[in-house]
Symmetry: C2
Subunit: 349 residues, 2 copies
């Protein structure tokens, strides 16, 4: 399924891109004076291949997973918080619920790798692959088969959304400890020094950060024979929610959807997808620069620019939800602004 | 009227600020993990002094003015475009109209200093002080009385909005050539070197930019005896729309309103207001970093941080309109998120 989906990903249409810029340059404003908004609009038009695209139907996919490496003491919160926060999501009280309401987006919560089995949780999409990863500091976090299974769940989520008529999907995650595997994946894939991609997560002190860096270095060393390709890296030092995000990016790109990438952890998942097929990048919109230290390294190394920089470090999909409002505004600029011809102005510079 | 309004401006309530942070730190997220959104929410609560503030009623004020200095060849567009764009605003086809619709905000268009008299223009707020400023390269742009009259119009606009029950007002402007007086005002008030606050505006080439810098330097030299206080600087090298924006900031702060400042030109107006009373800063939200070169100098010198950085350089109020959506999201985070206590999580770090 992964191979087949990868084959379906095509670069976006240059013809549609040119068409979009032609209209943008004829709207009543100095040329390119709406900066990134114009870039967003052009890419949306080229992805959807529509004269007047709308981003009305929007969905966020928040994948929840736990991490064996938490026993090494890499997080400021205990593992139980993953389950409590998932219940909070389902009750509508978390940051992602509020920001999704602001954006008019539906939130899907997927148990893809939680330790706790929330059997009674209404509304939870139950696709658990494994009840938390294993401790990557002493071996592989999961098998390649488990990683592939989690990627396929992400692909399925994108496909189901597409079948529902959704054009905009966004990544999100919850998982106590998940900045640790994300940093490990980035270190191996960018590649980068561990200290350049490792931050304080939900709130480590300086000593905690040093320890976290050492644990990640140890995990990469222990797993050095398994770091051969993007999926084996994901399996060795990644996480199930990161794999789900990778799959969502992949499935979204294959179906010509707009894919909004949330923050630091989501970028790790998106990077795995981009390494599997570089054309996937054409479909991804990186919503924000997290205040988690390693995110800046990711953007610099990939030559990408995030839409927002608001010192967010919550995850869940919150940055992606905010970006939806910016993107919808960009598309409405494209659809609704008058042209120079319509108002009788010479285009000028 | 200006003196009286200045006296009404009070620093925001520290008691309400503390109250707001107390709630924010108890919402279900790692402490301060929603970064700038939390700072916005805290300040909104402290300005409005409300337990559950809403930013529902929003208005944008786009002041239009022309500039005598245009005869020196400082703009890529001819002066007639001011009138054509104002008609475009009134017809709903400009960037500001689209982004205001996205934000659910009403747009007010004010002729405060246009050269052209749009007598037949329905919906235009006609408060013309002077049919374009005089050429500041050979003398004062306007008299002190004219500058004060324009400031008072801005104050009135804020007061009328307040009386209509509006809590959020935003600045905007239209005026071919107005990055030139804005740069001159910033150079004199920050203070800064002219070349550090002067950019290409709507699209000058390198030669045009050099000429613009020389004209601004000449204007500051010609008017050197009139650069004694913020209002005399505004009169000598400013513009009528810049004065209107100054007044809107002043009037908004005096009435405890949320004031969103648009881009480069609006920042010049806001700076005059802040120089008249530093407490006005507490009420101002700087929406975005314009790609107009001097805007970065403004933020660095003032120690301020803009909310968005999207390479916008359109003006009109477009950046402020976009920021409204971010601010409304921030306030909903404050109002709608569950607390740790409600979901049974220990606050942690």
């Amino acid at each position: 399924m992964i191979k087949e989906t990868l084959k379906q990903v095509q670069p976006i249409s240059q013809k549609w891109l040119k068409k979009a810029w032609n209209r943008l340059d004829n709207l009543t404003k100095p040329r390119r004076s709406l900066g990134i908004l114009e870039e967003i609009a052009a890419r949306v038009v080229a992805i959807l291949e529509q004269e007047s695209p709308t981003l009305e139907k929007k969905e966020i996919f928040t994948f929840a997973g736990d991490h064996g490496v938490i026993t090494e003491g890499v997080s400021a919160y205990p593992q139980e918080v993953t389950g409590l926060m998932v219940r909070n999501f389902l009750a509508g009280g978390a940051g992602i619920n509020v920001l999704a309401r602001c954006a008019g987006a539906h939130v899907n919560i997927i148990d893809i790798g939680m330790k706790e089995d929330l059997q009674d949780a209404e509304g939870l999409i139950k696709r658990n692959v494994k009840r938390a990863t294993d401790n990557m500091a002493i071996g592989q976090a999961m098998t390649r088969e488990e990683a592939e299974k989690a990627i396929c769940i992400g692909i399925e989520m994108a496909e189901q959304a597409h079948d529902r008529g959704t054009h905009v999907i966004a990544t999100g995650e919850m998982g106590i400890g998940n900045t640790t595997p994300s940093a490990a994946v980035l270190a191996a894939l960018l590649p980068a020094n561990v200290e350049d991609v490792t931050g304080v997560g939900t709130g480590l002190d300086e000593k905690g950060l040093k320890k976290k860096i050492k644990i990640i270095e140890k995990a990469l060393k222990v797993n050095k024979d398994h770091l051969n390709d993007p999926i084996s890296i994901l399996a060795a030092v990644g996480g199930l929610e990161i794999a789900g995000i990778c799959g969502l990016c992949l499935g979204g790109a294959a179906r010509h959807m707009i894919v909004i990438v949330d923050g630091f952890i989501s970028s790790a998942g998106a990077l795995v997808a981009m390494r599997l097929n570089p054309s996937i990048k054409d479909y991804l919109f990186f919503s924000h620069l997290s205040s988690e230290k390693g995110h800046r390294t990711f953007f610099e190394k990939q030559g990408l620019r995030p839409m927002l920089d608001l010192d967010l470090r919550l995850g869940e999909g919150t940055g992606a939800a905010l970006a939806m409002q910016i993107m919808e505004s960009a598309v409405r600029i494209y659809n609704e602004m008058a042209t120079f011809e319509e108002v009788g102005i010479e285009p000028g510079a």
